[in-house]
């Protein structure tokens, strides 16, 4: 029998926040172990952002059951994965011998093309049957055959995929395949990097930024106590990124830390650091003996000359780790695939190579990404695959342009949206939760309050471009009509 959930009172700082009593105050009656709750878990603050959005969404639907809600909130992709990529994964499972398989490369994303595929397939089948009645289609389930089966792969990823990442993503940058570790996504590797670093490192991060960096810092015990007055953790160096400093911190005001997290293009501000700024940061890390953990998950959205990888900057191999992902690059949010680069030249103060410890972490705490996902990743990096997935990225970028233009036309200051799927809209003097509510109430559109990404996100909202085109256009119409 599960015991009754009892809501108790608590004086912890989260209670000041928007939203009703969440996890923290839940204590369950019943027999208790003598195991103390991890004090670091107790310090975690803000798991309220997306649950709170879900709650408000639910309340909104109750209030307006007929409203056609549009979500520009969560950063999830919506466009289909190109055929060439899913075909490669299907082929990994279900092998159709070459004569027929080549047919699948026909683009069938429109009804017309499906017809074309059937026509061509039937023609081929007809001629093949003339030659051999049983040779029309040769199926074998690859992972279901002794020859096609494969079990554990290398924890670090398939050699072919590591090589393909090295040769396409890092072409001319001299990243060796042995420095690339294939993962099940950037988020998992952020946690694994934190396990690698341990609890004694000091950390700096952008304010605002993706919450996984700070949350994993808190979980590992690096963050110190949460300060109610500043809404910050005591031991974290917050690098404020706002329009006032063009979203790049004034490094002369930043204290030395062991680790500097930098996400570029940044989630949520959509700002990609320039080559000059990144040079400055690498120089800063070099002076301080710091390690930069550079998250390039959104680099495919960069249109201008901003660096796509930190390894474009001379000297970065001695101070930087790069994490990245197929999620926003190829719509692999559900398929799960990413990678991390740890250069051989990156050394701890005692001269021990970081890459050797990361290899040990990957072998101990992970067992490799799904072999099916890796087959898909490999297809993404073929020249045909790259063309197809860039098509999808460009589609989202057009969405972002529509969104940015919409808010601009309302007289608002708009950031991001150029090198990023995210548009960061400024409502000076307003609380971001109030703006969220106003937009929801007037237009039935879900956004994300900037406050959820750090104290400096107050007064902003993040608007995502991962929608179908008709939703984006409809959202634009509603915003223009009702938000003036």
């Amino acid at each position: 029998m599960p015991p009754k959930i009892i809501q108790t009172r608590s004086s912890s700082p989260w209670k000041r926040r928007v939203g009703a009593c969440i996890a923290k105050c839940t204590v369950t009656a019943g027999w208790r172990t003598k195991v103390c709750r991890n004090v670091n878990m107790e310090k975690l603050q803000n798991d309220y952002l997306f649950p709170e959005i879900t709650t408000r969404r639910f309340e909104h639907i109750q209030k307006y059951p007929d409203a056609k809600l549009i979500s520009l909130g969560i950063g999830d992709t919506t466009q289909p994965i190109p055929n060439i990529v899913t075909s490669a994964m299907a082929e990994y499972l279900l092998k159709v011998y070459k004569p027929c398989f080549s047919l699948w490369n026909v683009k069938i994303d429109s009804p017309l093309n499906i017809q074309k595929l059937h026509k061509r397939l039937n023609v081929v089948l007809y001629f093949q049957r003339l030659v051999n009645p049983y040779d029309g289609l040769q199926y074998s389930l690859a992972l279901s055959t002794i020859e096609g089966y494969s079990g554990y792969g290398a924890e670090q990823g398939q050699q072919a995929l590591r090589k393909a990442i090295s040769e396409t993503i890092y072409r001319d940058l001299g990243i060796k395949d042995t420095e690339i570790f294939v993962s099940d996504g950037a988020q998992s590797d952020i946690a694994r990097l934190q396990m690698l670093l341990g609890s004694n490192v000091t950390v700096a991060l952008q304010d605002p930024t993706f919450p996984a960096y700070i949350d994993t810092s808190v979980i590992m015990g690096q963050a110190g106590d949460f300060q109610e007055d500043s809404d910050k953790y005591g031991n974290i160096e917050y690098m404020k990124c706002s329009p006032a400093n063009f979203f790049f911190p004034d490094l002369s005001t930043i204290s030395r830390t062991d680790i500097i997290f930098l996400c570029s293009p940044n989630n949520p501000t959509g700002y990609a650091v320039s080559r000059e700024q990144l040079k400055e940061l690498v120089e800063f890390a070099k002076e301080n003996g710091s390690i930069i953990i550079y998250d390039s998950s959104y680099s495919a959205y960069i249109s201008d000359d901003s660096p796509r990888s930190i390894f474009e900057i001379p000297g970065a191999r001695e101070v930087a780790i790069e994490i990245s992902s197929f999620s926003k690059f190829a719509g692999f949010t559900g398929v799960r695939l990413g990678w991390t680069v740890v250069p051989e030249e990156l050394l701890y103060s005692n001269g021990y190579p970081v890459v050797k410890d990361f290899n040990r972490i990957v072998c101990t705490c992970f067992n490799g990404a799904s072999n099916i996902a890796q087959a898909g990743g490999l297809a993404c990096l073929s020249s045909e695959g790259l063309t197809a997935i860039h098509g999808v990225v460009n589609f989202y970028k057009e969405n972002a342009e529509i969104i940015a233009e919409t808010f601009s036309s309302l007289g608002l200051e708009v950031y991001g949206g150029k090198n990023s799927p995210y548009t960061w809209v400024h409502f000076p003097g307003q609380k971001s939760w109030d703006v969220f509510n106003e937009i929801l109430e007037k237009t039935h559109i879900i956004t994300v309050p900037g406050r959820g990404f750090g104290p400096a996100g107050e007064g902003f909202i993040r608007v995502g471009a991962f929608g179908h085109r008709d939703s984006i256009l409809e959202a634009s119409r509603r915003l223009k009509n009702h938000l003036r």
Copy 2:
């Protein structure tokens, strides 16, 4: 330019071990950051087992280039994944409309059946073409269509899969789907559970057992210093499991710890704890207020009345977490899928439910298992899927029987091999690395020295049953001929 690797001298305890200078003494010349290496990473000892086996294997091949090496070493599966499971994953990617798709369920694991499939397929195609020339095969790439695409899933796993695990694996045990967290495999969840627990818990584990428990304890700083004299970490409670205690620790001699790791059937001993023993352990945990982390990854291999889940024991919901995997159950070592059960009744000493913190860890440090792997997992748990994967498990169990009988016939004491794919063979008075060498030299068969799983593994070797039948039979012949 990568700097030169310099091998320096070191006095750390690993040097006493078998094998030449490994990672620990590698210091690279070059510019260094000021970031201190995590002291816990420095304490890790035994990443030498499988690399050392690889080295010896390589040397053996150099010495005997014509020898036909058989590996009964690493615990990797070799049998194909049943059609019904790969079909489900392929269907997730590549949807063939129902009339044709049903054909794929024909078993095509033999050439005869492939012929049969083609015959039936051609017949259907013929009649379909009479009705509609373009309706013969209707393909659409599911993940490549707007309707079929899905992005981020719930971090905790797809609702349908959580439900299926609850209803098939835990039928009648009252495990709710909300208590089940789908993972990318047990190894990743061991690391995530360690992040959950933090560095201040005390830990007990079987000696010998799967190295990931102790290695993650070391990484999190729970293990204390390595003691050269005992070959043990100072703060870990080693629960010796040997023939003398029938592989179950005498709990009256075990100190209270916060956490007790128990793997049953155990890797490497192959021993499954009995119902009475597991009751005793749950009682022990209850008395001490400890949490048991029970690893049931090999439970599908249990033939007798031994419990397949700790939740078969009354009271376990208040003291236990269970981790498990599709790897050895369905040959998913490369596909990557597992799960962890955290019951609502499991409470920290302050009354806070462990499940809420684990949910937070899963949402922060993980982003869900691959949706394709989850489609496969769901197919495994259909009644047809269960029948097919039990067929594969039974095949490995027959292999294990052949192996156990072989070593028995040589007059050796043999353990495991009944409820497990692993046979644990005793060579009293001998060093397990010497036994490994002797077997390799005389029979060209790779095994695993028991010492690699803990001090109490000395004098044993682990022999795996994940081979093709002809290899197993050939290994048996060689052992019988050359090891007398």
